[in-house]
């Protein structure tokens, strides 16, 4: 057995610590899911609102394990050619042209048409070999000797056909290329699928995956995340801004601010040399947190109470 990159995944606590070392603040649940995914060799399906760090988890896991991250972004109309492999048509064509003259030399010895045909068939595999195979993310992930993290992002945006097609890849960790044969992953990748619930995923896929739901973090964890990303922010400001954002999420608005927006806001406040949260400051920077004009107007009347509550707490 070759040495894989998965050795750090010895225990749930080790995973939490390891993810922490690359700046991802994990929870018990998240670490458990990664631990199970490795030990049961199952993909993880992550659901949850946008911007809670679903994609980031995959990237951080790859960084932590020091293996490559192969990312497949899904969209409507995605097919095998873009996800798995494709033949390099252009290169094949170019080689055919270049080899044309050589072909004449090779064929020279053949007296009859049959003999020429036989000779030609013996070269056929030349053009359908791995030299001319363009690996796409799924295939690349299978071929890593050290193991890898395969991120299939926003699977809910792909078509159902593609979802069904993925089942084969995900349950056996192997890929069949008709001209070459079956390519099996020596070290199965850690597979992470994310979904924003645009459409309901098929039961078959759900059954094969572990399921992890990541929601907006509670205050303590959000503080830890912001602290990890924006180390310069003072503790007082940090606790105030986080509790303000948490309060904002309770309101009835179209798009609730995500973690990345909290981090952006912390950076903004730092840039403006804020040491404490005050109402005017909040008002002038609210557009960092809220991305819809209607939302900004909707929370306008609540800003004062929220800011007060945040400074008090």
């Amino acid at each position: 057995m070759t040495k894989t990159g998965y050795e750090p995944l010895v225990s749930i606590d080790a995973i939490t610590a390891g993810l922490g070392s690359v700046g991802y603040i994990s929870t018990r649940e998240i670490s458990t899911a990664i631990y199970l995914a490795y030990n049961l060799r199952k993909p993880i399906l992550i659901e949850g609102p946008a911007g809670v760090g679903k994609t980031d988890l995959a990237a951080s896991t790859a960084r932590f394990l020091d293996v490559s991250l192969n990312r497949l972004q899904c969209y409507e109309g995605l097919d095998e050619g873009k996800a798995l492999y494709e033949w390099k048509y252009g290169k094949q064509l170019l080689y055919t042209q270049l080899l044309k003259e050589k072909l004449g030399e090779v064929m020279d010895g053949a007296g009859t048409l049959d003999a020429a045909f036989d000779k030609l068939t013996s070269f056929e595999d030349l053009f359908f070999s791995e030299t001319f195979l363009e690996p796409r993310p799924l295939l690349t992930a299978m071929k890593q000797d050290k193991g890898s993290v395969l991120l299939i992002d926003e699977i809910d945006k792909s078509d159902e056909e593609f979802e069904a097609y993925l089942l084969e890849v995900l349950s056996d960790y192997q890929v069949t290329v008709p001209e070459i044969g079956t390519i099996r992953a020596q070290v199965p990748p850690i597979v992470i699928l994310t979904s924003n619930n645009i459409r309901e995923l098929g039961d078959a896929l759900k059954r094969r995956c572990l399921h992890l739901h990541i929601d907006f973090p509670e205050a303590a964890r959000e503080q830890a995340i912001v602290r990890a990303r924006v180390p310069d922010v003072s503790e007082a400001l940090l606790s105030q801004l986080v509790s303000f954002v948490q309060g904002l999420r309770e309101l009835d608005i179209r798009k609730r601010p995500s973690i990345s927006e909290t981090v952006d806001w912390a950076r903004t406040l730092l840039l403006m040399h804020a040491t404490e949260l005050d109402e005017d400051m909040v008002r002038s920077t609210l557009n960092v947190l809220l991305k819809h004009e209607s939302d900004i107007q909707a929370v306008d009347k609540d800003v004062r109470t929220l800011a007060r509550a945040a400074s008090a707490g």
Partner: protein
Amino acid sequence: MAEQVLTDFIRALRSADVRVSTGEAIDAAEAVKLIGYADRQRLSDTLRCVLAKSPSEKLAHDRLFDLYFSRQAIPQDAQPESPGQDRSEHSEDGPGDMLDLMESGDETAIAMAMERAGQEAGLQDIRFSTQVSYFAQQMMKSLGVDRLETEMMQAFRERTEEGQAYAEDLIEGRKAMFARAREHAKQAFETYGAGATLAFREDVLAETALTALDVRDLARMQALVEKIAKRLASKHSRRRRKKNRGQLDVRKTLRANAGFDGVPFDIAWKQTKRDRAKIVAVCDVSGSVARVVRFFLMLLYSLNEVVPDIESFAFSGRLENVGDTLKTDDFAHAMDKIINDIGMSSTDYGQSLSDLRMNHWDALDRRTTLIILGDGRSNYGDPRVDLFREAAARVKRVIWLTPEGESLWGSGDSELPRYRPHCHTMKQVTTVKDLERILDEALSRYS
């Protein structure tokens, strides 16, 4: 023992509407082997990750996990004794005997005995709250209540002061024991039974005539309708473009391969496009039909995931577009308002059709399924079949739904037989199941 615990837990999950496949059960067993039973929190995290696959399932899991594992002592693999085998032994004079238990007052021993008695009584099969007492009795029996009663009678027969006192003690003890058994059975009902009862009720509801629904069932009905909508949605939300492999698209192929000197490397196939589903609902909201309309529209609007285009019109005397009114969160309230505002005048199908012709004719096009809900009783006015024929010609399909049975069609002022030739389907709907079937059929025409 450990495996039995997990299997029973999975049964409890299934009865609470969490779908757990055999494969997932195997995964759970493997995961538990890996994690162990020692850390409760970790066990919960693990099972949650492997078994519960949506937010609502996670909620159900958390609730049941607490119920189940607070009741069940975490199994120890070291404990060799299995509950099934020593049944005969301990009902004789085993540690589970009720008299000994009461005398010892050992809480853990009592809890364990309860657990065992529950298993012997088949407590995991409890389905209804009315069964709680029965199961408690059964448990008492397997706890050895007979011996206690014999002893009690004997004590009474002694006719001494001590004997009386002893008997009183026994009676008290028996009462306490029975209360515990009841409690235990009740908890089991909450774990295994509550979900099952719900499922049973829903089955009944789906088959109940909409006009005969109880007021207290209305809320439950809403949940049921949402469930049906979800089922329909997952069945029909397939991709819109269907690849038609086998037929070469010559023009596309030539164009795509011009760069390769016309050598067809990249082959394009002909594709057929699926229509986007569009439904126009025209509903009679007067009197008897209103109830059915209510659930029909509720179902229709729960379907907006698969049917992005829904237009709905309500009429009795005049016809009005009610689409905007219904696109709110408070569906029930919107519906009441419509029925009060529009449903109060006397029904006139002819006038309503001509309103549709005048003001909303654009809503009907060749990808539309027109669904009319009404009894066709037009108070002897002109039914304007000509307009109806014209509408039917514009659209993909016409479906007429009526709450009345076929024998009544055409009786009195019913004009249904005159409309019938222009409909693709004319059906009686009485239950939610009927509605589901109809919509299922309508939607499958778009695949």
